[in-house]
């Protein structure tokens, strides 16, 4: 059985690292820059990057509405860092006009852990990921400020949720694509496989 076709939104950010991680768990990564390319994937990764930049480019290249529609239709999506912000219902400390895709019933705080000098690595227990702790890299990272009842919190740093899931949507404030540990990507590919959207 060939692996699912998983798109990576390739407008800006660490696309190559996600491609490598998806490849390592047997998925077939493809870059997505156009609405037509979006229609041909079984799941989608929103990479790390600058959420304001990606948001603006989503609008310019007419991907925002197709993406919102795909999320409503049940497309599995995994967002890391900027990708987590894009999946949020609302953002604190963002820009007032910052376009979001939404889908996860949560409010995130942008750059919640501080500036780059405050960026850090830490070992983290993540629900649903078996084995040793996940080594998590936080870079000017957001956290989840408020989450609805439907949102399952998979991991926290101190009090703040930093990994969440709601149905086929998965988001992390950290960057599993930077460490060579592919377990978060495996979890996402399992979500894609079991969602059986038949796309």
């Amino acid at each position: 059985m060939s692996g699912p076709r998983i798109g990576i939104l390739a407008l800006q950010g660490d696309v190559r690292e996600h491609a490598r991680a998806l490849d390592a768990v047997g998925a077939r990564p493809v870059e997505v820059r156009r609405a037509a390319e979006l229609a041909a994937v079984d799941g989608l990764v929103l990479p790390g990057g600058e959420s304001t930049t990606i948001g603006r480019l989503l609008r310019v290249f007419e991907l925002l509405e197709p993406l919102r529609a795909a999320v409503v239709a049940g497309l599995p999506v995994f967002g890391s860092c900027a990708g987590m912000i894009l999946l949020a219902r609302d953002v604190v400390d963002g820009r007032p006009d910052q376009p979001l895709i939404g889908g996860l019933d949560m409010v995130v705080r942008r750059n919640a852990f501080g500036r780059q000098v405050d960026s850090f690595e830490v070992d983290l227990d993540v629900d649903g990921v078996a084995g040793p702790p996940v080594h998590a890299v936080f870079i000017r990272a957001p956290w989840v400020e408020k989450a609805g009842d439907a949102v399952e919190v998979l991991a926290r740093v101190a009090e703040a949720p930093v990994a969440v899931r709601q149905g086929p949507l998965l988001a992390t404030a950290f960057h599993p694509e930077l460490t060579g540990d592919s377990r978060m990507h495996r979890l996402f590919v399992d979500i894609v496989r079991s969602s059986g959207s038949g796309r």
Binding site: A10, L11, Q12, G13, D14, V15, R16, E17, R33, G48, G49, E50, T52, T53, R56, L57, V60, F61, C81, A82, D93, G94, R95, R110, N111, A112, F113, G114, R115, Q116, V117, D118, S119, F120, E121, V122, D123, V137, F138, I139, R140, W143, V157, A158, E159, A160, H175, L178, T179, G180
Partner: protein, 322 residues
Amino acid sequence: MAPDWSEKRRHIMSQGQTAATAGPATDSARHAGTARVKRGMAEMLKGGVIMDVVTAEQARIAEDAGAVAVMALERVPADIRAQGGVARMSDPDMISEIIEAVSIPVMAKARIGHFVEAQVLQALGVDYVDESEVLTPADPHHHIDKWSFTVPFVCGATNLGEALRRIAEGAAMIRSKGEAGTGEVSNAVVHMRTIRAEIGRLAALPAEELYAAAKELRAPVELVAEVARLGRLPVVLFTAGGLATPADAALMMQLGADGVFVGSGIFKSGDPARRARAIVEATTMFNDPDVLVKVSRGLGEAMVGINVAELPAAARYADRGW
């Protein structure tokens, strides 16, 4: 996965750099300022445009246009050329205003070898320090020891050996130098092609020839071997110096840049906001000529520029650093 060289350096050089205390509560197991965190920050900027700005207002225009970061400096390179004099780190007030004005990362320049300017920039909360040949070098022999900082550094390079010497000193991101403040892209092209070609040659060498290659490149053999194995630098490679149009940005992306710095090219042009947007869109869709046509229309005047060939040797910034 972790590169041996950088991890070794991390352990040797960054003793005691742990425990970031921002956040909801302290967590003793947190490690800040690691090679992975520094290099990872640059990975997040890939496919993006970093714009030189000299005021908070320009920083807002850059953020509105979709810049992934801004570079705060006192004078853009074109003005440094025109006005002459010693070019130094910017006024802390100006940098703080820019940090306040935007939500995207803010970079700032320190003079080559001026580690105290870098200490000041780190204390200001700048997200990346550019140890830059555009400013007047402070030390003719030594670059900054960048391992000893929590803030990451980007440095310029004209060839692979220079890039690897900067990485050996702790640079977490490299940009090809080009010739800043000219609006002329030819040197950026030459430097990017040179770095790529030298990487290609290394990748084709048998392992036993890497020692001599390291000697020729004047770079640590561990880094040379890593580049040969990866087929690229172990850090992100941006381009800079003389980009003025959307087509310039797309050219450099097609030549293999991970992203672009635009200095004087935006705010020395007729319609900075529009040109900034166009360059961002061209950098994303660098392989799509239809988009490049669309974004290149109606931009108004580009910066006038200077032909690099007419610059006397003393006026070439790319020769600064070694």
